[in-house]
Symmetry: C2
Subunit: 322 residues, 2 copies
């Protein structure tokens, strides 16, 4: 079987890193670039990684999807704030069996894709990685790096492990990326939100690093209460979608995550990086979508909602350039 | 009957204004001053008021309560963040029937005083006023100015209108201060919190004036939800303390206050003024005390609690000089 052909939409900290790894592992990868196009077309990509630096002097760089071939897998690495662009970016490179793999943060991202990609498989990859784009075509990989892959199911039932998923695992392993599989992508997204909702949200509202938040007893207590609301929302959502099947997160998760966060090096969350750079915040993907899912399942989630309102106001102020 | 003798502890925007009015109305007033003592001892007080400017070239200024006589009424005009000083400031000027009138913001202020003033009457005055101290001995009175007076009752029952209250009303009227009476001080404090909790709190967390908050649809919605929690907390508190007596706020209050806030000139709340000046925030009086009262009455009040945690963290950062 020939190597799979990938398109990477959004060649930044996430898409750029995993795309470069896949090419290094032997896959054919087409990169969509915007401001970095000239540099990357000429010089390729550089990855400065804790796992070992590497360079790809030649990559298939594109300024537009019009020059790309149809691909086997579209990797979505854009921020969710740009998702309105996705139909126009994805449709031209779809073959009849093309899979879409979104590496984006948040909740119900796959559900939005499913509105318009037809019967093609939709996959989600949860990236546990600290990486930044530090210059044109240059990605710095600071810590972690694994990906948790799962397949979206239309009926919200655990999707099982398809041949496609297993093939992707092979490609990621050839790319030297640690990869795990989940048969319940929705629950895996809730699990990641247990950390992302309190720490991404409060890092912006309180203008603080993880270490500054963990050093304040009131922020610690608030983070724990927010985590409790996310765990309860996940349970309400699971119960609403598949009654009696007991899809829920473990009660120990909150304590484990707090301990882990306390031990981490001081860290600016992805939303704090966006805030500091004046970029749009991923409020709808990380807060709005799970809030609406909780409310649809009959749970009020007042703290998540309050954080959502505060972040929407901050995001509005950012986009007004204040 | 001779004019009553007053002591004003804290000659700032509130104590300075009402103390000056009382002296103008004929009362004997002793003012406690700190950094402004030299200036005020020499030049007296100046009030620049929308109701007409006036000056008091001579006032009884004191650097310490040790030089004050026992008084009929102690007016507490300090910020609640200084309340740990109160026993040492008040005890030396207490006669056997001295009344204590606190003009401070927040909740359960009278309850704290009752811990140590014995059987003396404790009164609360809710000040509806925009005023600032703009220089040594100089108060600017910008808008409003009325006081709602009520008497604290140990058993949390509506206290009725005592002869003392009626006498105070005469003094305030002679001082040309609009004054109203309430027989349920606790409910009146809840009523004021319906505005103060959302707008004081969010003005600091969101770093915004009232006009900026009202212009943002998410902050408006959050303010309305916080107001709803305060109204529910007031009801739970009333029901816990006097079951079946129906002490509660009207359902129309929230809409009225929002409309009024929308029509006000852009306004920095008292907590925002403290925040901008780097002064300690009155978090415990305005947020901690009502939160604990709500929780004692069996209500979770998650949004008020979240605001409390956020403000405690901001106050901690302020006091660390960050």
């Amino acid at each position: 079987m020939a190597g799979r052909r990938y398109a990477v939409l959004g060649t930044g900290a996430i898409g750029g890193y995993y795309g470069a790894c896949l090419q290094r592992g032997g896959a054919e990868v087409h990169f969509l670039l915007h401001s970095d196009y000239d540099h990357v077309a000429r010089h390729g990509l550089v990855v400065e990684s804790i796992a070992g630096d590497f360079a790809l002097p030649q990559v298939q760089a594109h300024r537009t999807v019009a020059t790309m071939p149809a691909v086997d897998v579209v990797i979505v690495g854009l921020k969710t704030t740009q998702n309105a662009l996705l139909p126009d970016l994805v449709r031209p490179i779809l073959g009849p069996e093309t899979a879409i793999l979104t590496l984006q943060n948040g909740f119900a991202i796959e559900h939005e894709l499913a509105q318009w990609v037809g019967s093609r498989p939709i996959l989600g990859g949860l990236c546990f990685i600290c990486s930044n784009k530090i210059g044109p075509g240059t990605i710095r990989h600071l810590d972690y790096g694994s990906v948790l892959l799962g397949q979206h199911s239309l009926d919200h039932q655990p999707a099982g492990l398809s041949p496609l998923l297993k093939a992707l695992v092979q490609d990621f392993q050839a790319a030297q990326v640690e990869v795990e599989l989940t048969d319940d992508l929705r629950l895996a997204r809730w699990r990641k939100l247990v950390w992302n909702i309190p720490f991404n949200g409060l890092s912006v509202v309180m203008n603080a690093t993880t270490a500054e938040m963990m050093a304040d007893p009131n922020i610690c207590q608030l983070a724990e209460q927010l985590m409790g609301e996310v765990v309860a929302a996940a349970q309400a959502d699971g119960e609403a979608l598949s009654p009696g099947q007991g899809r829920q997160l473990s009660a120990e998760l909150i304590g484990q995550m707090l301990t882990h966060t306390e031990q981490m090096a001081p860290y600016r969350t992805s939303m704090k990086l966006d805030f500091d750079a004046g970029r749009p915040l991923e409020v709808e993907a990380i807060f709005g979508n799970p809030l609406r899912a909780a409310q649809a399942a009959g749970m009020a989630a007042p703290r998540i909602e309050m954080l959502y309102h505060q972040l929407k106001a901050i995001d509005r102020r950012l986009s007004a350039g204040a």
